[in-house]
């Protein structure tokens, strides 16, 4: 997920790219509003994917108990964790 031209892709774009490679999904399917269940991602698979997100963003999500239903939910927990990691601004 290296930035192509020195510009870091958005968190949404990174999560979408990871979803595509991890689950073999088409780019157009991983829209923010898409339900994970509709993408064939059950609760255990989502937990497994969160592990990958943690490694990718170097964050810890495991204390959250967020309800992960959509692609946007995944993005939100990542943004939240990154915000915490960066401390209050």
């Amino acid at each position: 997920m290296a930035p192509i031209s020195g510009e870091t892709p958005s968190i949404l774009a990174q999560v979408q790219a990871l979803l595509q490679s991890h689950f073999g999904l088409a780019a157009e399917s991983v829209q923010p509003g898409a339900a994970l269940a509709d993408l064939g991602i059950d609760s255990l698979s989502a937990i497994e994917f969160v592990f990958e997100l943690e490694g990718h963003f170097n964050i810890s999500l495991s204390d959250g108990r967020a309800d992960l239903t959509t692609v946007a939910d995944l993005v939100a927990v990542v943004e939240h964790a990154l915000g915490e990691a960066n401390g209050p601004t």
Partner: protein, 413 residues
């Protein structure tokens, strides 16, 4: 008591991963024993194992499934699929009356070890999120129940080397009593990790490698035996009531007619003839109730691990239980070629026993050139033996913890 029959078999083993190739290897005394192929091989003093080398996870499972499946569950599912297919079950007549009875010694050992390695060796501060559900000992049984929709009992037995023999025996009892009318029974083991092999090494029960021919290092009943060789794999059987099998026109492989189980209640690792004899007699008594006499038993698949003490004690037990008849019953120990499959051993060896009955052909005890004078029975040394009149056979599993399990089967004409 309902009659209980076997209608499907499945095998994942170091000497073949389907029943036919497994049995062909047994007959040819083709050994699956070799120095371990693993990154940690150079850390083992006694590196011999029996690995399943032809197992391609990606061929059997989606990538998504694999994160939930420890190797012992993967083996379980593949063996169960073979058995299910062999039994040719098109539709469950009553899913709630179908059970899963599974054995394992150590469950998801590899998952557990990877977690420890991540934490303690690599210094990571997290483990794979599905570690718990992948390594729990009942994971294999649960995965089998899910795949085939078996909604009745789903039990996992942990009796070391006797685990899957107990699983088969308990499934047989449940079907016999009418509580269940069909079951997948068996066991699986995938414990060839550095930590676990180090444990076995320290216990001083493993075979010392033969320098020139390492594949012959496990030598049950032989004068120069030095111990067993740990192996991995799975054995699965479809069991059902005779009525159920006949009603759906199933092909019947054999009938289970006796199950004996006892505990020595003496020592954790040293076997005891008295306990073994109790299990054999219990199975024989039950078989007698089903019309099978001891004189009809024409083959014994021994526990035969090739430890100094184990083979001698088992020989004593067979003599005590069979009396005069002991000298006339051919016995073989197939661990010489497939290794000690631990929680899968009882099932895989019972499958060998059933296939011997079916084919009227006894697998030999490989590498047995000179028998120990204290092991003086007929061990079908080196070469297989055709026995056209064979109609009943016994399989022994004697485990650490003092668990003794005996299964008896006969052919159905």
């Amino acid at each position: 008591m309902n009659r209980v029959v076997v209608t499907g078999l499945g095998v994942v083993s170091p000497i073949g991963s389907d029943p036919d190739s497994f049995f062909e290897s047994l007959i040819a005394a083709r050994s699956g024993i070799a120095p371990i192929e693993a990154a940690f091989a150079d850390r083992l003093r006694l590196p011999l194992v029996a690995q399943v080398k032809d197992f391609d996870s990606a061929r059997h499972f989606e990538k998504e499934q694999l994160s939930k499946l420890d190797r012992f569950s993967q083996f379980a599912l593949v063996a169960a699929r073979q058995a299910w297919q062999g039994a040719d079950i098109k539709k469950l007549s009553d899913a709630e009356a179908c059970g899963t009875y599974w054995g394992t010694g150590l469950g998801g050992a590899q998952t557990l070890e990877i977690g420890y390695e991540d934490l303690f060796v690599k210094g990571l501060n997290r483990v794979r999120p599905l570690s718990v559900i992948a390594c729990m000992p009942n994971a294999a049984a649960a995965n089998v129940a899910i795949e085939f929709g078996l909604q009745g009992p789903c039990n996992t037995y942990a009796m070391a080397c006797a685990s899957s023999a107990v699983a088969i025996g308990e499934a047989y009892r449940a079907i016999g009593s009418g509580a269940v009318n069909m079951a997948i029974a068996g066991g699986s083991e995938a414990f060839l990790t550095l930590g676990i092999l180090k444990g076995w090494e320290a216990l001083m029960t493993l075979a010392v490698p033969d320098k020139d021919r390492p594949e012959t290092s496990c030598r049950p009943f032989s004068m120069d035996r030095t111990g067993f060789v740990p192996g991995e794999g799975a054995g699965a059987l479809v069991l059902e009531s005779h009525d159920h099998a006949v009603a759906r026109g199933a092909n019947i492989i054999g009938e289970i007619v006796g199950y004996g189980t006892s505990n020595d209640a003496l020592h954790l690792s040293r076997p005891d003839p008295a306990g073994q004899v109790r299990a054999i007699r219990m199975a024989l008594k039950e078989a007698a109730g089903r019309g099978l006499e001891m004189e009809q038993i024409g083959y014994i698949n021994a526990h035969g691990t090739a430890t100094r003490i184990g083979d001698k004690i088992e020989t004593e037990s067979i003599k005590a239980a069979f009396g005069e008849r002991a000298a006339h019953v051919p016995i073989s120990a197939t661990k010489a070629v497939h290794g000690h499959l631990m929680g899968a051993g009882g099932a895989v060896e019972f499958i060998a026993t059933l296939m011997a009955l079916q084919r009227k052909m006894l697998p030999p005890t490989a590498h047995l050139k000179e028998a120990d004078p204290e092991c003086d029975l007929d061990y079908v040394a080196l070469m297989p033996r055709r026995v056209p009149a064979l109609s009943a056979a016994m399989s022994n599993s004697f485990a650490f913890g003092g668990n003794n399990v005996v299964l008896l089967a006969r052919t159905i004409e």
